[in-house]
Amino acid sequence: MNDVMIFAIASLGGIGIAASVILYFVAQKFKVVEDPRIDEVEESLPAANCGGCGYAGCRAFAEALVKQGDDKSNLDGLNCPVGGNDVMATVASILSLEVEEQDPLIAVVRCNGSHANSPKKVMYEGATSCAFAHNLFSGEGGCSFGCLGLGDCVKSCDFDAIHMNSETGLPEVNDKCVACGACVEACPRDIIELRPKGKKDRRIFVSCVNKEKGGPAKKNCDVACIGCGKCVKVCPFDAITMENNLAYIDPIKCRLCRKCVPECPTEAIHELNFPIPKVKKEPVAVSQPKVQDVKSIKEESPAEAVKEPKSAPAEKPEKPQEKPEDKTNETN
């Protein structure tokens, strides 16, 4: 070994030792404690930073999770909509807690005032912003509750899950939706609701938020809920309530029996992803023409398709014919 090698080892080794010793003592002296689990939890979160959990980003949520885990030893009320149950289970295991399974939710657009159903009475010009238009006037179709069609919800979605259908002028949600709730927040008219996805993606809901009395409501929109109360009466599970002339189906109580659907005189109640009832001869079922005519126009996803029951009003079956179909629907 020559000099250079000896110097090299001595000096480099010396620096190595010096650095580690100094660092060690500095670290000891200036120690700051921070719960290491916060990092762990944060790592398990999807890092979408969408705020769907109600906190300012994933880090903040991780802190909240760790804190609540320590204080209350449960994670009730905290949920990451993007990651869903899997992520929450991981988080719980990091904090050695248990979590309850939460039904996955999905955004549902509760307005069917398409161009066909609620024709334009005036023409709007100006900022492409529902929020602005909502402050300006009742809407092109005259309904002061319905969709303005300017797409604030679409802009708010980080997941590419909600899009405008240019034919109807209404937004449609697809299955990329993670129920972050951004669109619910964005809609100035509170049209969008997060509802349980339902078994096999099946959902029944009132596709209208108009609180006016039947007459004026119907004047502006063919498919408005007119508050007639028929669905309330027919529901065997007390799932439907009537407030301010508007029916609302409680998704927890609703058992998807579909009795209310044909009952509605304006077809304001929508069902999604139910099989087409087997019909013998006549085109009688309520849901049949919906699915058919839209399928012919639009692509695969039935979830999107069913939202447009009246785009071809000519094919609409007469009301009386629906009555005998009750049983068929039920047995399906």
Binding site: G16, A19, S20, L23, Y24, A27
Partner: protein
């Protein structure tokens, strides 16, 4: 992930330059010709593979707190080896790469790989990962160098086919930024299509 994917990911999908935006300094600085780009890329690849090997071999012997310093020392050693070797055998290339050879040590690609991959995986995967990433890096540098050389001096790997001057800006610093910008835009577009 199988080994093939592990190897090829560095070229397009996780390309350190085009996608991860790491190691940009050498990328921009030495790519005034394709040869320089290739040389820099290969030097980096060597360091990457060797440090990946060593890190994955001794990973269990390193306490967490001194993980990073140890890795840095390992990387720096290989960088120095490259430095000395190049000085001895390819002095011209060494001179034109200049300060950016010692700076391989701070190239985030190298430390990042040691930290994120080699310290968690076995020897075989680590070698392949290092090789893939390194060649991806070399690919990016060579491509950038080739484009800049083509426009900037009208030659390809040193072979001149346009007499006289070309568009000088391309081999100067603005050209580096602008060319990389459009290359990334082009790649994004191709990936979407």
């Amino acid at each position: 992930m199988n080994q093939v994917q592990n190897f090829t990911k560095g070229f397009i999908k996780d390309n350190p330059v085009f996608v991860l935006l790491l190691g940009l300094c050498p990328t921009l600085a030495v790519t005034s010709t394709a040869i320089n780009g290739l040389g820099m890329g290969l030097a980096t690849t060597f360091v990457l593979v060797m440090s990946n090997i060593v890190v994955s071999l001794i990973k269990s012997q390193i306490p967490d707190k001194v993980r990073i310093p140890s890795f840095i020392v390992i990387i720096a050693s290989f960088v120095t080896i490259v430095e000395l070797t190049m000085q001895a055998y390819v002095p011209d290339l060494f001179e034109s790469l200049g300060i950016f050879i010692p700076l391989i040590v701070v190239n985030c690609v190298v430390l990042g790989r040691a930290e994120a991959f080699a310290s968690k995986n076995n020897l075989g995967s680590s070698i392949i990962d290092g090789l893939g990433m390194g060649l991806g890096f070399s690919f990016a540098l060579t491509l950038l160098g080739a484009v800049r050389e083509l426009f900037g001096s009208g030659s390809f790997f040193g072979m001149k086919f346009i007499p006289g001057d070309a568009i000088l800006v391309f081999i100067l610093s603005p050209g580096a930024f602008i060319t990389l910008g459009y290359l990334i835009a082009l790649l994004n577009r191709m990936k979407k299509a």
